[in-house]
Symmetry: C2
């Protein structure tokens, strides 16, 4: 029986680390990821793709060079390809990311916050 719902709340209960996106579903050559965010990430760019953020819990600010956007639960934003951005959250945020297979969380910036590919929740 493979026809089971993907329960986002249940996925968020199953891990605690921040800045480590986990694949929960595949849509053609795209992936749906869940991620917990807290604190400030690094400024980075995805040169080849847009990136969708949907906030499920908490309040997330996506810092952008031309004006920040703050997302509350049920709100989303698409960072266009090539646009430098830096997520920041005072409290813990639960968010969904949707982007093509193979996108690395830190984009062109790299560094210590670069997460390994993790599809253990898929």
């Amino acid at each position: 029986m493979t026809n089971v719902p993907i329960d986002l709340a249940g996925k968020f209960l199953s891990f605690s680390e921040h800045w480590s996106p986990k694949v929960v579903a595949r849509l053609n050559d795209y992936e749906v990821k869940v991620v917990k965010l807290k604190g400030e990430f690094v400024w980075h760019t995805h040169d080849d793709t847009d990136e969708l953020f949907l906030v499920i819990d908490g309040e997330l600010t996506i810092q952008l060079r031309d004006g920040d956007v703050t997302l509350r639960p049920g709100q989303m934003f698409v960072v266009p390809r090539g646009v430098e951005h830096c997520p920041i959250a005072d409290g813990e945020v639960h968010a969904v990311l949707i982007e093509p297979v193979g996108v690395v969380n830190t984009g062109s910036a790299g560094g210590t916050l670069t997460a390994a590919y993790d599809d253990s929740l898929a």
Copy 2:
């Protein structure tokens, strides 16, 4: 100022008709759509693409030939390409669909429930 959140609840407040997906965001060559569902749709297939359903409000059953899946708020399911399906909902459901640009709601089935392309909420 283009850096504004896409507020799903607000989008759902802005229309009332059922089975008429409305584009609210673009992600590369994919579209994020909001749709209100009530009653039974038509059995249909998208031969060329997977289709993501995320339920925001209400309870949606996606009938599948090999076993139905029922989604509550915060739950999602990806119908694989080529898999015949038919959404059904007793009460009104608010859902998000994500799929490539150009996907028609009734897929290969056509018929009176086929919706015109609508990006008036984007």
